[in-house]
Symmetry: C2
Subunit: 399 residues, 2 copies
Amino acid sequence: MINIAILGFGIVGSGTAEVLTENKSIIEERLGCEYNIKYILDLRDFPDSPFASKVVHDFNIILNDPEVTVVAEMMGGSHPAYDFTKACLEAGKSVVTSNKEVVSTFGVELCALAAKNGVRYLFEASVGGGIPVIRPMTNDLKSNKINKIDGILNGTTNYILTSMRDSGATFSDALSEAQKLGYAEANPSADVDGIDAARKITILAALASGKLADPKTIHTEGITAITSEDTEFAQSLGYTIKLIGHAEIRDGKFIAFVSPRMVPLANPLSSIDGVFNGILIGANMVGDVMFYGPGAGKLPTASAVVADIIDIIENMDKDAKNYTWTAADAEDMLPMDEYSCRRMFIFKGKSLPCGFKAAKFCNNDDLSAAVTESEMTETEVKTLKTQYGDKLVCVYRVL
Amino acid sequence: MINIAILGFGIVGSGTAEVLTENKSIIEERLGCEYNIKYILDLRDFPDSPFASKVVHDFNIILNDPEVTVVAEMMGGSHPAYDFTKACLEAGKSVVTSNKEVVSTFGVELCALAAKNGVRYLFEASVGGGIPVIRPMTNDLKSNKINKIDGILNGTTNYILTSMRDSGATFSDALSEAQKLGYAEANPSADVDGIDAARKITILAALASGKLADPKTIHTEGITAITSEDTEFAQSLGYTIKLIGHAEIRDGKFIAFVSPRMVPLANPLSSIDGVFNGILIGANMVGDVMFYGPGAGKLPTASAVVADIIDIIENMDKDAKNYTWTAADAEDMLPMDEYSCRRMFIFKGKSLPCGFKAAKFCNNDDLSAAVTESEMTETEVKTLKTQYGDKLVCVYRVL
């Protein structure tokens, strides 16, 4: 009998209890052993819940119970989630989590601590919600070097961008609608400013490179500046605008950043709409593979949490591994200024400044603009902006 | 040191040797042990290949070498591939394969034989080429009951359908073009008649249900009857035609079949074009997840083969499991006649027979047709066809 404790009985915590209960018979059959949710830690009581009798308010009850071997941390935020995780790992309990803030901030320390204590720290649900992506990336693509990751990693912003594109809504109207539907929070900053996506892309980048960057230090652009003209313009040229978490290994260094990008309609990420997520991985042998599915939600996210719990139970006493990460320092990373990629430039007027070759012309009358595409570094773009002033209307990164 | 033998030095076999060699240092680092390709079995010699010295012509050299513990069967066809696989498993060697014909025909026996001999039989590359799908489905979705699988499982037919849709080509022109590009074989029957997809969907259905159906007995419709009018008609109504391998678990029974289907543009499978494959899996907790990527090709398929080799090496001495399948008999399966799904009916003329409510009207002048959608079993459709004769122009299954 395996005893499990759940920390936090919010959306994902209660979903985890539900998946463990609803699918108990098939999961136990697959595991070949029984399990039991012994405790649920929360500040609140849930007298009407079928799990009411499991609820405790004191973390130490869980920490000091040697029967509890697997802990699901579903609290969100850094503290006390990080502190409780650390205490559990030190006490020889494996921990699974959906908490991208903790993983992206303290992942190096927590993975090492798990290894040191002969237990495991797993976090499939921290990226892509219910989509299996971390394990497929690290297990099933093990015969490959992963060169590049492009992910639609945040359902809220993808919902907003899809709605702006399909209904012509402004950013603020689309945001209000998302808030009404429960897809965006009252304070939407973590989503619309790209902070959530930044945490997720640093996790994916660490899985590919072994180096975890501080998500606060990577270039992070959200979608607040995107207008309905932008989305219309993209459409008319055969692109769609998506907020992309990008990571790339180039010349032995890596870069990770978040920004809106023009995604050509032939790219499979272009058709991932609404609250769905998709992660496109480029690897040296297989080429491009993509994982798609619900990037959030109670039961989908819990499905991934329980997949980690199953992995831990199945591999107990089998010397199963943890991710081995080190903290990325400046030398490991390609500076953003030196990062070059394909970009789309829009110049005011129907002609391009000399030296530029037009790729296409924009039909949008308001813009009356000439469009060109070129590969350029951030530094070169900055120079160009100074040089042409407001004749250079805007620059988009192309995927 | 792990010694590997490759049976068959064709496209996938030589790709497997290339992946094992090209990525040797990173794979060995991840494995924590070294490996060696000891033999390559082929009837031919390859004097100019870097692997020339590994080539042997006698299978018994491999079978009788106790140092060989992992065998990659890349021969294709049923015999001698099945016979060699059986001999290897009985001799205590694990076997990996991309051979869907052998897996779908002899999978029950070979999985059991592997288990009996304490070795493993793995076949990630048999479905979806390089796409990680079998392991994600069976490992990462273990917290779920899988209810439904819809897959674009054959790159050749998907290339032909995409080309018919995008260029208005006829089936035979698109097929010739695919043959010229090396995407279709001189005798294209296994692809265009749906036989290859049928083998793959029975494998996926077995992974979900534990029951392996004989692929020769499942309903298998190919794409030879699809006209450019069909693809144009689908486009005009907001659908795209795809050859779909479908499996479903319904009321404790399962069904698997292959047929062209009208896929709504909002479905992520609708945008999987050209030679790519995509597998959409519906599960009771996570909802729908999709795996996308190159469904064939030398290095992509080899990437999946090597993922299986890595899985075997990593889990040696860890009591790793094999799939446990039984042969599906008539009682396990929902008869095709009783299978109901949403269908699109096209009636000649601008009006529908009484009792039908028009969902939409087709703008295609050649058809001058009225369109309606309804959920119906195969038996009901047959009755309808008898009743309305050639007034009922056609019936499409809708995804």
